[in-house]
């Protein structure tokens, strides 16, 4: 039995035993648009996390420095996550 498949564009395509051919012809595909938007969201999220993480690290380091008698000694207490955020953020 031959079967008429309706494509999304309104055109018709006769099916073959290889169904993938029909999908290839008729599917509306724009993966780069979706991937691009997802990429922008990931980049924005990383920027937000790094910025606020570095801000938080900077505040903590400054608070420790203010509490120390010898300001130079405070830098030795910087933890790995604080160092990481401060390294990654160009604004802090």
């Amino acid at each position: 039995m031959s079967q008429i498949l309706r494509g999304s564009t309104g055109s018709t395509a006769r099916s073959t035993t290889d169904i993938a051919d029909v999908w290839t012809q008729s599917a509306r595909r724009r993966p780069w648009l979706g991937l691009g938007l997802l990429g922008i969201s990931i980049a924005f999220t990383l920027a937000v996390v790094i910025y606020f993480g570095a801000w938080s690290a900077s505040e903590k380091v400054q608070a420790r420095q203010a509490a120390e008698v010898d300001p130079g000694a405070a830098g030795k207490d910087v933890s790995a996550w604080e160092e990481g955020f401060l390294w990654a953020c160009p604004l802090h």
Binding site: R29, P31, S56
Partner: protein
């Protein structure tokens, strides 16, 4: 491949299922799905009650205990695509049964935990995987039972997202008070396993498996192949095409942005309100009001999506969620906070509930498991991020202004991303039912595809 038209015309037409009837097994499946969602969300949401007893018993810091919750959320999110694929490959019932077994192990182990790493494994890892296994495949399985009116089925089930925690948090709190935290986990584990295990006996993956017709079935509809070698091969092939559409990636992105947007508010609203001078009771009632009002759109959003198209409904919800949150920049009195709760809960309730319907509109009756699983990965990571941001922002700035602005930015970015989706009038890939019909060596009536896509 099939039978000639005159021969087909001679076949007796099976009776149609009435447009709406309560006497249909699809509602049993919806009820099972709703209870599974309630149990899962209840245990998850009642974690907050566990923090103080663990702190008092072991002397762990709230931050270290809270890490178990964050770890569990991330594990559930990361495991969601796998759970969705397992549901399609092995069947929802089998996958959910494994999830129930892991739920029992996770709950019993958590009750006996004596160290932090044990808590991270028992609650974070085991319970996290269990949640993904019994929460992800259930929605695609419910979709299998609805040839039409999927929005109605989804809407009824989604109401359980609000009701579960509302009921169970109180029960868990009472148990913690009366019998202690260890016994509470044992009782919740045993009762939850018995309830979920019992429901699995009633659960059928597809109407075809149960020898029934799906809800909304009409005599012209082509039957669907839902298992076997052809099904497995074609579902893998079809999924490959889904990966190549804009909507697949963009819907993950949209769910992530929407969940990050509202998680900031759900986690931050009580501390924000108390910071602005409201009592703890007044602040708590804001959250209760949001939960109560959001029930309406949890139900209505999928129903309306089915009728008028998902894209418009989703845009309204995301835009409303983003714009509405800006009210918090000026809210100071209880009345202003309550007004915010009522107005914001309407779009918030509909944010995540239209996804099964838009999947159906884009990809027809193809297996939804892997696609929905990936969308829940986006949602889970969004919830984890949104949950962490308010405290982080407050620690730095001493105010919640930046958290509110970020919440609005995430939701409005989601609304903008929705505009980049294709209209839902036509499927993105030729309908699964047509393809299935072509490959099946069984004669069936020709006619409608059963794909009732509403257009935006």
């Amino acid at each position: 491949m099939g039978m000639s038209s005159p021969l087909k015309a001679m076949l007796p037409k099976p009776p149609e299922i009435n447009e709406h009837t309560i006497m249909h097994y699809a509602w049993v499946i919806v009820a099972v799905g709703a209870v599974a969602q309630m149990v899962g969300s209840a245990i998850r949401m009642s974690f907050g009650v566990l923090i103080t007893p663990l702190e008092e018993t072991f002397g762990w810091s709230p931050g270290a205990i809270g890490l178990a919750y964050a770890w569990m959320s991330i594990v559930t999110a990361l495991f969601s695509p796998i759970a969705g694929s397992m549901g399609t490959r092995f069947g929802a019932r089998r996958t959910m049964s494994v999830g129930v077994a892991l739920f029992f192990i996770g709950m019993m182990w958590t009750s006996q935990t004596g160290s932090l790493w044990e808590l991270y494994i028992s609650y974070g890892l085991v319970f996290g995987i269990a949640q993904a296994l019994f929460l992800v495949p259930v929605i695609p399985a419910v979709a299998n039972w609805f040839r039409r009116h999927l929005g109605l089925g989804t809407g009824i089930m989604m109401v359980s997202w609000s009701l579960g925690p509302a009921i169970a948090v109180q029960v868990m709190a009472l148990l913690f008070e009366s019998v202690g935290w260890q016994e509470t986990f044992i009782i919740a584990g045993v009762v939850g396993t018995v309830v979920l295990g019992g429901l699995m006996l009633l659960f059928k993956d597809t109407p075809e498996q149960a020898g029934k017709k799906p809800y909304g079935w009409k005599s012209g509809d082509k039957p669907l192949v839902t298992k076997g070698e052809v099904y497995n091969k074609q579902s893998r092939q079809f999924q490959g095409f889904i990966y190549r559409t804009n909507a697949f990636w963009n819907l993950i992105n949209i769910h992530f942005l929407g969940c990050a947007g509202h998680a900031i508010i759900l986690v931050g609203i009580i501390p924000l309100a108390t910071h602005r001078g409201l009592s703890l009771l007044e602040a708590s009632s804001i959250l209760a009001l949001i939960s109560a009002v959001s029930v309406s759109t949890r139900f209505l959003a999928p129903v309306l999506s089915d009728k008028i198209g998902s894209k418009g409904v989703m845009f309204f919800c995301f835009f409303g969620q983003g714009a509405g949150v800006l009210m918090l920049l000026w809210a100071n009195t209880p009345l202003e906070f309550y007004l915010f709760a009522i107005l914001w809960a309407v779009p918030y309730g509909g944010e995540g509930t239209a996804f099964p319907v838009i999947n159906r509109q884009y990809y027809g009756h193809s297996p939804m498991g892997p696609t929905y699983g990936w969308q829940l990965l986006g949602a889970g990571l969004g919830m984890a991020l949104g949950g962490a941001l308010p405290g982080m922002v407050f620690d730095i700035t001493g105010a919640y202004t930046w958290a509110i602005i970020l919440s609005a930015a995430f939701s409005l970015a989601g609304a903008a991303a929705i505009l980049a989706l294709e209209p839902t009038r036509d499927p993105l890939i030729p309908d699964w039912a047509d393809i299935e019909a072509e490959s099946e060596p069984v004669a069936r009536p020709a006619g409608a595809t059963g794909h009732a896509a509403a257009g935006d």
